[in-house]
Symmetry: C2
């Protein structure tokens, strides 16, 4: 629904005051506000005040659904109905070492489900999927819609940059929230993610909502609220949506950094890799395959090498050489254990911050990232270590960064006398 001629217009100040006082916005008010902001008739300083009012006052389900639909309606919608296979998409709220998209997309495609993964670049301590794949020589992120559709048809999986045509309101609003301290409003996070995912036109969607020190949502309650609201939005828009709440206190796998994470993903596709990465990849793959209505066990497709074959085809289709050696950083350094004992904790945020400072991430969106930079962990919670044993290797092309990376990691490891309780990686499922 685009705004027809004769749609009522409103006063932005009146709408801000309304939300500020705890009243809900009507459908007509939202259907005016979002396009008016997108075309510049509502000013940035008005929308940031509105976003802060939403932070404090929230939005009810119907309001949020209207808000999200209005964002979608500012742009195009993709259409995968010409594909012979059902489509399933996945979104992760982002976490340290979260390379799951890399093995997951080819694995699910190998099960007979088309996987269109429109991804982004990283900012701050969480990496971006496109940054990781760009470590592969020759690989390119930018595809036209036609190229994307052809690759989905021929290969079954595509991971590429989201075009600017999807929900331009979100692009503008997200950039505003980023500089006005209003990112953390849960309804705005939910509508930002879901407007793009719904506009993508997937049949089904699995959300990986991270909880813990390395995640955007630090508490289980926040994560559950975000997941519940996104699932409701997806279902209201006719997308078969489920969410997993997954643990992000400890980094996923043993690597954080672009090429380092690609290498670890390739290990998983070859049948190896860290147990937690394999476990989460399979859990998400099973959700995606089931929600697409396909009766195949992804574990079989991992075991028989067909997921790895799709991976190679997917990388080649976007100009990359899946067999080329990956870039390596020019300098390495180590962190060692100070005492004997059993590791009880490896802080995900600390590892993410260290990888970022080593050059794996960017502080501003126009910054470049180092392909080889990052952190490799040699021990995870539950493992016994001895004083002096290497806990992590730091990689960078800019050795001056080692000092600040060491600072970030100073309190990363907790070493005690008892093995910590083993926590499941999937904490809860919301559908």
């Amino acid at each position: 629904m685009t705004n027809p001629a004769g749609t009522p217009t409103f006063d932005a100040v009146e709408l801000i005051r309304r939300k500020r006082s705890g009243q809900r916005l009507t459908d007509e008010q939202i259907d005016w506000l979002i396009p008016a902001y997108t075309r510049g008739d509502v000013a940035d300083e008005q929308m940031s005040a509105m976003a802060m009012a939403v932070y404090f006052r929230g939005m009810d389900d119907a309001e949020l659904s209207t808000w999200t639909t209005a964002m979608i309606n500012t742009g195009e919608r993709l259409d995968f109905s010409s594909l012979s296979r059902p489509t399933a998409d996945k979104h992760s709220t982002g976490g340290v070492g979260d390379k799951i998209t890399l093995p997951l997309a080819p694995l699910v495609a190998a099960c007979g489900v088309a996987v269109p993964q429109l991804s982004g670049r990283g900012l701050g301590h969480t990496g971006g999927t496109l940054d990781k794949l760009e470590a592969i020589p020759g690989w390119r992120a930018d595809l036209t819609n036609d190229q994307m559709l052809r690759q989905l048809d021929e290969v079954g999986a595509v991971i590429c940059a989201a075009g600017s045509g999807l929900a331009p309101a979100d692009k503008k609003l997200y950039a505003l929230r980023d500089v006005t301290g209003t990112v953390e409003a849960i309804p705005l996070i939910a509508s930002s993610i879901m407007s793009k995912k719904i506009a993508e036109g997937t049949d089904s969607l699995v959300l990986d909502v991270k909880v813990g020190s390395g995640a955007f949502m630090a508490t289980i309650d926040q994560a559950r609220e975000l997941a519940t609201r996104m699932v409701a939005l997806g279902r209201a828009a006719g997308v078969n949506t489920t969410a997993l709440l997954t643990d992000m206190d400890t980094p996923l796998g043993l690597t954080a950094g672009n090429a380092l994470e690609v290498a670890e993903s390739v290990e998983v596709l070859a049948g190896g890799g860290p147990a937690d990465v394999v476990e989460l990849t399979l859990a998400l793959a099973r959700e995606m395959v089931a929600s697409a209505g396909v009766d195949v066990d992804p574990a079989d497709k991992l075991a028989d090498g067909s997921a790895r074959d799709v991976w190679k085809a997917m990388i080649r289709a976007q100009g990359g050489d899946p067999d080329a050696p990956l870039p390596r950083a020019s300098h390495t350094d180590h962190m060692v254990a100070a005492v004997d004992g059993i590791i009880s904790r490896v802080d995900a945020m600390a590892v993410g911050l260290a990888a970022w400072r080593l050059g794996a991430g960017r502080a501003r969106k126009e910054d470049a990232v180092q392909a080889g930079a990052g952190v490799v962990l040699h021990a995870k919670p539950g493992e016994r270590v001895q004083a002096g044993q290497v806990l992590a290797t730091l990689h960078t092309d800019t050795p001056a960064a080692f000092e600040r990376a060491h600072q970030a990691l100073a309190d990363c490891w907790a070493i005690g006398v008892e093995a910590p309780e083993r926590r499941p990686i999937v904490i809860d499922r919301i559908s």
Copy 2:
């Protein structure tokens, strides 16, 4: 204190998030934020988000004092120390029919206290003091600081436009709050008013904080909080500050409109005028004279005609002719009583809105106002009226406005069988 070289700089987003989460801002943070916003290093969309966060989270007394001082420090401070008399200033939060400044300034000057009244123009349903005086043929609002000082020395009272040199941060922030739904934050109202009043350099200050339907503060609790915070700010800055909470459910006096209110003020100075206007003028005059340490009863100066003499000298000093006939609107219309009974209520907001629609006020700050437009009441609460009796005369140069003025006044009068309780005009005093 302007920012010396080496003052720490901060991240605006971090400060917004800090306030959003309920933490206080430090002195260093505020001393960075306010000048950074004033010179444009902090963007409007960041400051509006901050203002909305302040709306929800408030500011403690020390924080608010630092904020206010930082606003003052973005501009000049006036200095009245060369005057032979003590100075006293008054600020009203604005209400319908509030012409009190007009008789008050010359009355207090007649008592031997210098009264520098830097005033503004009206916006919306409350009139502006300068708009009212500009109804007097020849009178001009703009004076240089030197002209103002000379007039204070020679006449004792001046009512003129506030120069742009006082607290430019406030000018910019107020304009932003006006378009972002963040006007109503009490700490921001208090700092906006007090930054200008403290920068004016007066020795003492009396605040007239209005409560009721025609006022900015609709409840006594809000008004008391605003008054208390302003008094604390004034005293912290060495200004002898007191506040009266005064009733604004019913319009002050019998007129709302520029020339109409000047005429009513002249009546008061001539020893007549409505009882409520006289009562409030004397109450405020007594506070101002006492806080300036002068032992004179203003009632004597009203009775002996010296206040009126200062009025004429003050108008003449700014180019006006105090004896010239005032402009009159070209068209009039009437509202009549629908039933017999005793008036229990005359709604101030309705009268203000009607006067505004008739042309006495402006919707946008670049609009012109009509000198003669407005409403004259013929009966106030407690008076007995008969069906068909004229309750109010409407004045305008644009008769098409009558219909919307009548609509505004539709529920203005409540007429019952019992006389309403007589409410005192001064509800409380805060010092």
